[in-house]
Symmetry: C2
Subunit: 434 residues, 2 copies
């Protein structure tokens, strides 16, 4: 009898029921006995098509008298019986059952790899597993489940001194360092930045700080979503090495008074309805850049003006890092991912699609030969205006370096917009390249 560890996941239908049913079926496999079952653990899907629901994961310890290959065959039968269909890689599934570990057996076949080759990199595998088999050893890595869990969790720093110490150690070892500045409430947009940061650098650090300086007095600073625990877990799955999550007074001491501002770029687009916003953004980024001293910092193109402002700040003040801007990540239906989407009601969520519809229209018109910004903007406005809950803040076509309006689209321009859906202000943009 071998002790086998398995992982179960579901993100379609009644997820708890799917996992429970699967376990019941597993218990009926000949030569099998279920010894322990973990609690359920919810997690955001990792990669795959956008907009799929969260996963529910669990793990179990089995006794099994046969071979891993034999067990795999039986598990595939169960998956099929529960209704799993072949879809795209990483796609949504009713049930997913993986053999993780089978004592010190090592299997490498076309169908099966034991230990599971990603088990040590996945928080949603290790977290439930550590509940029921913390001391199980990975025969290749020679690491226990609880140590694998420890290794995958990013280091969490609450103060400047500690994160600096961490960075200096990494630097002394010749490692490259990336920073992904965030305000938490992480979504797939952030995770794509973290994954890319980790891919291109030895060390990826995510800062999580809801920066009071960039919120106006009537804005949503207080109700901005905060869930550091969830953010840290998402960072773990995305490969982050460290999370810098300072308390506000660590960033802004009582006598704090030095700010970084810009003369022209903030006088366009969002800067007009959010006075002081970009001063707040620049000031906190300047601080974060000095604290972490990254080789590269990663930003999403969704906050287009922010990326232009930050790149200009780095250039103007001779800061010693590169800024990388990655594409906007969208929900399946086109809505740009944003932490503020969580505020939308069901109806508003539907209405919010008008932003993407307007951008799509702009692209279509450009493709059909239209070069007049005014005509494109007029059509975009029509789409927004016919959405009852939508109120336009601005819709414009601008030059991507100066953010000044362009009458005629020539070369690379950007269609950018801010629209209120109910009380929620959403922004989106796309590149229009003639």
């Amino acid at each position: 009898m071998a002790t086998v560890l398995i992982g179960l996941g579901s993100n379609l239908g009644n997820r708890k029921q799917n996992i429970s049913l699967a376990l019941k079926e597993i218990g009926l496999i000949r030569g099998t006995a279920i010894r322990k079952v973990s609690g359920f653990y919810a997690t955001s899907p990792l990669g795959g098509p956008k907009g799929q629901p969260d996963f529910l994961n669990a793990a179990a310890v089995l006794s099994y008298s046969g071979t891993p290959a034999g067990l795999l065959k039986a598990l595939k039968v169960i998956e099929k019986k529960l209704g799993r269909k072949k879809t795209v890689r990483w796609g949504p599934r009713i049930i997913d059952i993986d053999i993780l570990l089978s004592e010190n057996k090592i299997v490498h076949s076309r169908q099966l790899t034991v230990p599971h080759k990603l088990m040590h990199k996945r928080l949603f595998v290790l977290k439930p597993l550590a509940e029921i088999a913390p001391d199980a050893m990975h025969p290749v890595l020679k690491t226990s489940v609880k140590d694998m869990l420890k290794n995958i969790m990013p280091e969490i720093f609450k103060n400047v001194r500690d994160v600096k110490k961490f960075v200096h150690k990494a630097r002394a070892a010749g490692k490259s360092v990336a920073l992904v500045p965030t305000m938490g409430a992480l979504h797939e947009g952030h995770l794509s930045l973290i994954r890319q940061a980790k891919k291109e650098n030895d060390i990826a650090i995510v800062s999580v700080f809801v920066n009071p300086l960039q919120f106006g007095p009537k804005e949503d600073f207080k109700k901005y979503p905060r869930d550091t625990q969830r953010d840290v877990e998402l960072c773990a799955n995305a490969g982050a090495d460290a999370v810098f999550a300072p308390v506000p007074k660590e960033i802004y001491a009582n006598d704090f008074q030095t700010i970084v501002s810009q003369k022209r770029l903030p006088e366009h687009l969002c800067g007009l309805s959010r006075p002081g916003h970009f001063t707040g953004v620049m000031t906190v980024c300047c601080k974060l850049f000095n604290i972490v001293e990254p080789d590269t910092a990663y930003f999403g193109r969704k906050d287009f003006q922010q990326t232009v402002v930050i790149k200009k700040m780095v250039e103007d003040l001779n800061m010693n890092l590169k800024i990388k801007v990655l594409p906007t990540v969208r929900e399946k239906d086109g809505l740009a991912m944003s932490s503020r989407n969580a505020y939308l009601s069901v109806q508003e969520r539907r209405d919010a699609l008008c932003l993407y519809a307007a951008l799509t229209k702009a692209k279509q018109m450009l493709k059909s030969g239209e070069r007049s910004s005014a005509k494109i903007i007029a059509e975009m406005k029509k789409i927004i205006t016919k959405t009852p809950s939508a109120e336009i803040d601005y819709i414009t076509v601008v030059a991507p370096e100066t953010l000044e309006n362009t009458d005629v689209i020539r070369g690379r321009t950007v269609a950018a917009m801010a629209v209120r859906i109910g009380k929620i202000r959403l922004i989106d943009n796309c590149i229009l390249k003639s």
Copy 2:
């Protein structure tokens, strides 16, 4: 017959005549023939009592049939004959004659060291010498005069990329780097910073940049003294390794627009009559700190508010360097050294002493037990007011961190003042510690 190189210097009386007379006398020494004489070379005195006049230096090549000790004896007689008196070390002198090099002879006696132990470190020695004996070899350093001159001259960088490359090379070699930011027109105040910077660091870089951003529209940006050649020579003598002297467009490109400002500190003292001045100072220092990435930057306490503002900027924006503030260097009569002193007429130069007199009065009152800022300020004002060409901008006693006025002197406070002498605005300050 040995070929002997000698150096001559004078900074008292008719300097040219003193040197010419000395040379005539040297030609009369038995067994001596003067082969070549360099041109005259003027230089600021290095160290020694403040306020002494510039030196005039020259060098000569002699043929001499005796020993270096014999020659030294003859030279001392000539110095005495010309009227040289024993004064303090580095003090002013009618004539100074040194044996620099005597082919490959090496002498170490109590009276004489040949080659002269500082010859390779002194621009005012090497510059005239290189005119007449560029290929003479230093027998210990195995370096020619022209190479010694090359070595002592700081590297001069005109653009950001080159100075960065220089710094990165130094860093890669594990060297510490100091920055002394200046606007050129160097005086003993700057030189004391450079010497200290070099003493405490492997590499000392001096930036010379008249920063347009810190001048008001009616201030003296255009007429501010500029003499890079002189500045570079002074930097050489003070031990600087590099001078960063960018052209304005290298620092402020056409579309430059990012600035660093502060909310409260500039609302005191000089900030009140020079709006935007400290924003300009902070912005350029932020840029220079990012360009040079020094371990330490050095500032003089004469610009007291500037040092407080810069230290606060570094703290607030988490910049990765130390700021060192060194004491104000004064002329012999107490006037704080300043590039703007050069604008003063003879009468104004005399009147300008009222600043130091007022500060001295403040210190005396404190020593006598006075703790009221108002009473001290009143006495200081009296001294300034009775000087006809003087007009007070401000005289105040402030807390050294916040720059807020203090009514009662308790602990460390600073008496600070700005006074116009004619058209020239001078500042000065002193620490009042109860």
